[in-house]
């Protein structure tokens, strides 16, 4: 099935107003570089790291440590 761009087909609620095609260029696989995505994902990772640090303070300084032990103990090897 051939898919047609959605924006060419969508209509506003009035049923009469056709949304203008907003396409100004066509980007193929080779010329598209998702740099913006890389930046957003980078920001997300940064937030995750900061929140992890925050949780460290919440857990270890707020309620005392609850570490389960050495990795070897945990998997029953020692």
């Amino acid at each position: 099935m051939v898919s047609r761009p959605y924006y060419l087909l969508i209509r506003m609620s009035s049923g009469t107003e056709q949304r203008e095609p907003d396409h100004v260029r066509t980007l193929g696989h080779e010329e598209y570089d998702p740099i913006g995505t890389a930046i957003l994902i980078g920001i997300y990772f940064l937030i995750l790291v900061l929140l992890w640090i925050f949780m460290y303070f919440v857990e270890f300084l707020g309620n005392g440590p609850t570490v389960v032990g050495m990795a070897l103990t945990v998997v029953g090897l020692a």
């Binding site: 598209y32 995505t37 937030i47 995750l48 949780m55 857990e59």
Partner: protein
Amino acid sequence: MRNAYLDQFPDEARVIKAAFWSSFIALAIGGVLGLVQALHRTDVFRFIQSPDYYTVLTAHGVLLVIVFTIFFLVGTFTWAVTTSLDRGVVDTRFTWAWYIMMVIGAALAGITIFSGFLESAPSILGSELNADVLFTFYAPLEAHPFFYIGLVVFVVGSWLAGVDWFRTWLAWRRENPDERIPLPTFMVLTTTLFWYICTLGVSLSILVFLLPWSLGITESVNPLLTRTMFWYFGHAVVYFWLMPAYLMWYTMLPKFSGGKLFSDPLARVVFVLFLLLSTPLGIHHQYLDPGIAEGYKFIAMTNTMFLLLPSLLTAFTVVASMEHGARQRGGEGYLGWLKALPWRDPIFTGMALAGLMFAAAGFSGMINAGMNINYLVHNTWWVVGHFHLTVGTAVALTFMAASYWFIPQLTGKELWNRSVALGQVVLWFIGMTFMTNAMHRSGLFGLPRRTAEPQYQGFDFEPAVGTVGEINMQVALGAVILTLSLALFLLNMVMTSIGSNSESIPDNTYADTLSGAEDSPRILDNLKLWTAIAVVLVIIAYTLPLASIIDAGGLFGPDIEGFRLSTWVDPAVIESLSEVIR
């Protein structure tokens, strides 16, 4: 000439529409009960007795995370299979059969739960009709047999839906032997496979333990065993809810953004990873259960962390597809392209906001999954905040946004009001922001979940920031906004359905790809191989823990040998049988 789904597949459109309306009814009832709970718990407005809170909680949970999500899923998957294979189902009578079966199962479980509100519930099969067992219906909480029977009928209905999708695909494959599985169908098939694997555990739990126990055939159960079998299913089911949302994000959101899916092969890898990893990690819900050795919990944690991979792959692929659309629409700069996205389109905005909330849920999920830090938030309102971001927003908001596309496709009628729809998805986002941030924060100072009155005499919770009163107000306000949003959604659906036919419905299509199936290795389509590996992983993760639980506590509880046959058989026969055995 109009080429909506209704025009292509009129018979299938009727079943899918029925499935969607079933899900909307469950959403309406379950959503209102959410408001009742929020107001009761926070002591803003109490008009039910606190014991009834648990009936409300059970109905809210079961109606929303089982009935709403799965009815919407079966509708979406039937649409995805028929649209992407460009052929109808093999026999719509079979399709109607599984749909009706699911309706009967949901109604039976629902009636049993709601009987809990009656002053004196009727006694059927020797016990009172109620099921105040919450969505997590494991022992020691016991429901009326009808609740378990209803769930089994519902799940078997969903299994038959899976059979329907598989036989439609097999029929297509006979006609197209050398073609790759189209991506939407691939997503449906892999999801269905892990649904079969995970529901096997909960079905056995119900049929072998909970139902006989509830009927009085067996005297007791091993609670840890039924808990473990529930969570064997209980985590995979969250991916079952999530996969239709993923399907929409991968196959529709790029199109609504004005672009193409960045990579078909990456999408296939993600769904294969979900098939492999959804089930062998349920024990991460049981970090605090005594009776399961820490080593098994550690393995479950490792598997859970591996499962972050497909979610992060999805974050990249879906955002990259949106960026592609934005740049084709003239977006420029490192982040300036975000402004070029179609934020006035309720379908796009709803799905994008749902994805944003899912990113936040990713963090709280990592905290839940971490074995030691889970101890901090276990059984607190943090967890409730987490799943209101996942199933309550990533899934529910995506489904509502998708409905703005689906219902015109299925009815041939134009969406009643796009502005109301846009306001609705934004309201949901705002309401959930209030509610879930407060829930998460309250979990950090230990405010418990599953509690009708978390107000204790002689004890005050001490939040690091803000007050308990402020947190309660945020939850109550959030719940009111969410209910308003829900009402607007339902209004739009009803008004659209009773509107007049329109010729200007968009064609029924899904997103094109930048890198298509031809770029992905053929082995990704080898469903037998991935299923076999998934089964092996489940065996590795669960054999020893289950053996150890049964060894320690018996199949039916410590020192209980099993069936209380005297209920059904003459005691003299038992005595003589026992003589023979001795």
